[in-house]
Structure formats: structure tokens, C-alpha cells
Symmetry: C2
Subunit: 413 residues, 2 copies
């Protein structure tokens, strides 16, 4: 494609993270400095805002570097988000596409940046496909974002490092908390990730020469057996009073059934309890009945994706940079691509940022490779730990007021 001048539009989509606004900040910063891009617009609630013409002028909001710095550290999606799947491109039945491209025309959009996960990249792919079909001149670039770290091709995704840092810190602190009483105990920490175990794996970072927990880690990539799980705990209890176990919310048994659903399957209610709720609660009841010791389950819940107060500086800086690079990539004439991180092969950690064909990413999922999980399926390997470690390095300097971090307020639409 060719270079062209015009206005730009940026949106956010999918689940919030602590770093998604850093990418938005990067896009705005670079777009405001661009010689090709004139106006810098934001769409409210992702592609829904494009359909409904819910568009704001970001140049009016972000006039100072201080605003952009605050935005960089604000968790969740400043522009709002959506979960919206575009229909397959069909020129005979294209009402939604017509609405979207009407908005593009009305606002003179020649650059569209969409920050999101693999579902959002489906949107990027389809919009690009449609633009080519109707020969509409526009550069459409996807910017990765997901705490799940499950996007293909890229070494890792913005948002993952901060979530991993919150998880590792919390596991470390919960482990300290669990060991104060002189009684046998098991703590089960439930971590997000329905299919991919990257987040649960991050709990391993809590283990160091000053903490020997967690003791067991179960990822959804390996079929989960309750009998084996109880046997594993029994084994750890031979050498340790206080056991810390980290489990993915998405654990499934050999038949592919979620453990958190097994309560209704009769697998758990033999113990006399019916439990609603998550994997952690189900396993808590199981351990209580089988091991007769003190048991607690802790669900880290949404803080995993919004605890910006313990974000990874590496993650925030990379998310900001990949936002800037997306603009540069579009200015150079690219479209239908997603930006990725490529890890430098040197000993010292570093990444380069490149662009790849969106078709390699959209609707695909990257799971933890089986060889990065130990043979028993109850811990991760050193290689996986080495992969994760640099991603949680560094702490952002937050602006504090009255003892709390200052975060930007969402525009009132």
C-alpha cells in the first residue's frame, strides 16, 4: 500500500488489562506527532462505537504529556470495551460493514488501530478484508493485548507481564500468610485462564531463595485427575506443614469436562456438599474431605487484570512502545497486520517489534507447550520460568494522592 494522510481512529476491545491504556497512550502520542495523521479520534466501546458513531476527539483530551503519562498507568479500558463479533464478510449482506465504513468516511479515517486479543484480531482481519473488497483506502493495524498471553507468533502479549507480577506477588504474600499457625494446612489459589495456563504458571515466580511456595501448579493444558491431585498433596505434606497449590480456573478432567462443573456430575457430591462456583472452591471441598486438614481457597479474581498498582514496568513500557510502533507501521503503508514482540536471542532480555499478517493471529490460541510443564503435570519447568522472569521486572512510578494511585476517569459519554 501507499502512504496517505488523513485522520486516525483507535479503539479497545476484549477484557481489560493493566497495560491496555499504555498502548492507547503510545498510539495517541505517536499519532499526535505524525505528519500524515491529522485528527486523532477514539471510539467508545470498540467497534460498537464505530457502528453507533460514538466517537471522541482525543487530541482535545490529551493535550499534555502528563495526561498521557497518567493514561499509561490507568488500568482497564479508558475508551471502554466490547465483545462483538463481526459477521463474515459478504457484500450482499453488509449492513454492519456499511455502518462502520460510513463512520470511517464521515470522520475521514485513513488509519484504524484496534487494541485487543484474538477475538479482536478477528475484527481487524474482517475489516481489512472488507476494505480491500470495496477498495476503501485505510490502514488497519491490530495491537495485541491480553493478560492470557495466548496470542500466536508474538513472544508474549502486553498485559501479561503485569498480571503475572500481581499473581506472583500475591502468591508470595498468601504463602507467608498460610504458614503462621502450627497446624497442617492447604491453600488453593485459583488463577485465571480457561484454556491457556500462562497466568497460573506465573505463580512459579513466587518461589525463590526466600520462599519455597507454591508447591504444586496445575495448568489446563494437562488433563486433571482429582486422585492424582490428592496424592500429590499427600506427598508434599510428608515434608511440609503448609502446602500452597496454584490451579487454573480452566482445569478439565480427561474427558474435557471442567472441574468446576464436576459438582453437578456427581464427582464431588459424594462428599456430601454441593458447591456452586469455581475450581478453587470445588478443590477446597475435596481436600477438606480427603485430607482432614485446614483448607482455604483464594480466587485472585479480576484484580489479576486491573491491579495497576503492582504493574510490571517492562510490560507498561513495552505496551506503550508497541502502540507507537503500530502508528509508524501504518504510516509506512501497512495494513491487515498485528504488531508482535520478537525476543532478542541475546542473554540480556530485549524485544524488537515487528508486524505480521493478521491471518496468522486471529481466532488462534497459543497454549503453554507441554514440554514447559513437568512430566507429572504438577509444576512448570525452569525453561518456562526463564521465559516469564524478565516480563515482570521493574515498578512504574505511580502518581499518588491521598494514599491512592491517581488514575484517569473515563470520558463521560
Amino acid at each position: 500500500m501507499y502512504q496517505m494522510s488523513g485522520n486516525c481512529l483507535v479503539g479497545q476491545s476484549g477484557g481489560p488489562t493493566a497495560a491496555i491504556n499504555a498502548s492507547l497512550s503510545g498510539v495517541i502520542k505517536q499519532a499526535l506527532n505524525s505528519s500524515l495523521i491529522k485528527e486523532v479520534y477514539g471510539t467508545i466501546n470498540g467497534i460498537e462505537g464505530v457502528i453507533n458513531k460514538n466517537i471522541i476527539d482525543l487530541a482535545k483530551t490529551f493535550i499534555s504529556d502528563n495526561d498521557l503519562e497518567l493514561l499509561k498507568h490507568t488500568p482497564a479500558a479508558y475508551l471502554g470495551s466490547c465483545r462483538f463479533k463481526l459477521p463474515t464478510v459478504d457484500l450482499n449482506d453488509n449492513k454492519i460493514y456499511t455502518q462502520i465504513f460510513d463512520t470511517f468516511k464521515e470522520y475521514g479515517i485513513r488509519y484504524f488501530f484496534y487494541i485487543g486479543g484474538n477475538d479482536s484480531m478477528d475484527t481487524v482481519m474482517k475489516l481489512n478484508h472488507y476494505a480491500q473488497k470495496i477498495s476503501y483506502p485505510i490502514h488497519i493495524i491490530g495491537i495485541p493485548k491480553t493478560i492470557d498471553n495466548d496470542l500466536q507468533v508474538t513472544d508474549h502479549t502486553p498485559g501479561y507481564g503485569s498480571a503475572a507480577k500481581f499473581i506472583a506477588t500475591s502468591v508470595l504474600e498468601i504463602a507467608k500468610d498460610s504458614e503462621v499457625y502450627n497446624v497442617d494446612s492447604v491453600v488453593i489459589i485459583e488463577i485465571m485462564g480457561r484454556n491457556a495456563g500462562w497466568l497460573t504458571a506465573a505463580s512459579a515466580l513466587a518461589k525463590s531463595n526466600y520462599s519455597d511456595s507454591p508447591d504444586l501448579i496445575y495448568l489446563p493444558e494437562v488433563p486433571f485427575s482429582i486422585d492424582k491431585f490428592i496424592k500429590d498433596i499427600k506427598e508434599v505434606q510428608k515434608r511440609k506443614k503448609n502446602v500452597v497449590v496454584c490451579v487454573s480456573e480452566g482445569l478439565k478432567d480427561a474427558s474435557g469436562k471442567y472441574i468446576c462443573e464436576s459438582v453437578s456430575s456427581g464427582l464431588i457430591d459424594v462428599f456430601g456438599h454441593k458447591a456452586l462456583g469455581g475450581t478453587g472452591k470445588v478443590l477446597e471441598e475435596t481436600v477438606r474431605n480427603k485430607r482432614k486438614c485446614k483448607v482455604r481457597s483464594v480466587e485472585l479474581n479480576v484484580l489479576q487484570r486491573c491491579a495497576a498498582h503492582i504493574a510490571s514496568l517492562t510490560d507498561i513500557n513495552e505496551a506503550y512502545e508497541i502502540g507507537k510502533q503500530a502508528v509508524i507501521c501504518a504510516e509506512a503503508g501497512n495494513t491487515g497486520k498485528m504488531m508482535i514482540f520478537k525476543r532478542q536471542p541475546d542473554k540480556e532480555y530485549g524485544v524488537s517489534i515487528e508486524a505480521v499478517d493478521i491471518n496468522l493471529i486471529a481466532n488462534k490460541e497459543k497454549l503453554v507447550p507441554r514440554e514447559w510443564i513437568n512430566e507429572e503435570g504438577n509444576y512448570v519447568t525452569d525453561e518456562l520460568i526463564r521465559y516469564m522472569k524478565p516480563l515482570i521486572m521493574g515498578e512504574p512510578k505511580l502518581t499518588m494522592k491521598d494514599g491512592l494511585p491517581v488514575y484517569l476517569t473515563r470520558p463521560n459519554i
Copy 2:
């Protein structure tokens, strides 16, 4: 009493906090510098360690100021904790007391410091009582510690400020997370506190000129009505899409029954669900059935008492100082007292540290005054907010390694 020289023993008891080790650090620092105190011992798992002679030499562990600084910021109880109630003093049946005072004699203990909550102060009171009965020369001083902030006489308790800061920060971040989608939603955040609402009240600190959540706050001091609760939510939904509600785990109905127990009382299962678990989960199910919108409940769980990475510097410094002052108070000849904070009446926040008779504290509970809760019983007053605000100020400078805070490892006993 009179001044005397001898050895000192320090222990920790009750639930962990982010600040209890700061008080331990203060005791050790002051005791090591004391001209009256010779050896500085620690008891493992509180009074249980005194009974079982599980005693360590702290002077050997904490030889550098750096160690004491790390200890200051390490969450949970470094010496381990216990929940152990001493029997009423009875000289005709005093086996446990004999064991305890045998240990005191064997180790030459003339100073005993016990860091804990109102149950632990019962221990201080009884030991002091027994010492007087048998005319055993010892100075016994209680050092307050509880995230619940429910001790009498003292303006507030060490540990509360850090828990309040974690709660306020998390509520702020969860509120940001809750508002990204363009759908009606209710988030219910369950906060610790079975009887006292101080912790749940701290959620109000999240409200500022850059965040308008939480919308509703329910403390256990006011009888809870599910009908009123649903009406309150309906009212907020008239002006707001995303509602954030903070509830204490200890909410009770007018008859004094815990809401989390109401599932088995038939109050909830009319909605077709039986729920195990906490107040938040019960209310989540209720709102889902009554309001037909997206609902989520989040239990902040044990991170409230161990999230040292977001501790309040004010809290940590005060906890350290009250530990030091306890030693000075004992050296001056006092016994059977607990150290307290007295807030200075000036505009600028500050506290003085004093000692009061332990009988004023032990086994008593300080609830949130009714006049610090609004008339409707669904929010807190500005006066309560002014009371809490200074307690969460400031952030400790943590030692970080590999992206995580460095915390001390508990002695391996």
C-alpha cells in the same frame, strides 16, 4: 514497679497483618539497644512456644539494621502465631501457667512483649495477673495488632492502615474494571470483618474526584435487609450503568443471623440456587435473580491482611514505633498495659503513644459508631472518611528482586 535488668521475650498472636512484623522489628531494635535488657528472645507460635520452650535467640538473627528493615516490611507473623486461650488464673490448677513461668525462669525473662489483638490481650492480662499472684518479677506489655481496628481505647490499631490501603486501592481498580462494557452491571466486593465494619468502611476511600465508586457500603453494625439492598441498587441504577457495592462478610439480618448463613434458612433458595460460601456470593445470586443484569462478586480474601506490597507507610512506621515504645514503657517499670495511639487534636495528623491498663482492652471490641454510618445504613459519613484518610498515607520503599518484593523467611524450627 521498679526497673530491673534481665532478658526479654517477644511473641506474636492472632491473625497476620502487613504491619505486625514492623512492631516486632521495633521491639528488637529497642531491646538490642537497651541497657536493662540483656538477651532478646522470640517465642515461636506465640504463647504455645513459651509452653513448649520453642524459643529462639533474636540477637543472633537480627544483627544488621538491614535485617530489621526487611523484617519491618515482611507480611504475616515472622515468629508464627497461635490462637490459644489461657484458662482463668487459679493457683490450685495452674499447670499451663507453671509451664509458662518455668520457661520465663529458665530463660531469665524479665520482659515479655505480646503483639496481638483483643484475644491476645486476654493472654497479657492473665499472665500479668498470675505473675502478681506468685510475685514473679516481670514486665508484661501488650502491643496492639489487628487489621480489624476493633481494639478499645487506642485511636486505631497497627495493621489497619495497610489493610485499608489495600482495600481502597483494590476497590478503585475493580471499579475501573467494572465500567468498561456498555452493559448494566453490579459488582459486589466482600470485605473482611465479622463484627466491626472498619475494613469495609475503608472502601469509601476509593471515592475521589477521579472515581465515583463505591456506590453503596454495608457494615455489620447495621442490621441488613435484602429488600432494602435491592431497592438501594435499583435507585443507583437510575443514574449509573455500573454499580459497585462493598459489603462486610459479617452482615447480619435483623434477627442477628449472618447473611451468608441465610442460604440454608430458605431466604435465598427461593431463587432456585443453593450457594455455599460467603456473603458476597449469596448477594450475587440475589441480585442476579432480582435485577437481571450482569453481576459479579469479588472476595478480597486474605490479601487484605498480607498485601505488604501496598502497605501504608504511616501504618508501618507507627507499628515500628509502638514496638519501640513498648520496650521503653516496660523499662520504665510498667506492666499489665497495652500501648495505644492517641490522635493529636491538631489539624495536621499525628499520634502520641501511651500505655493503658490491659483490663480496659482485653476481650472488648470497638465497633464503628452508629453516627459514623449514614442514616439509611448504606454508606459512611464524611467524619469517618476524615478519620481513616491519614492512616493510608505513604508508600514504603520495598527492596525488590527479580520483580518481586524481598520478604524475610521464617526461622526453620
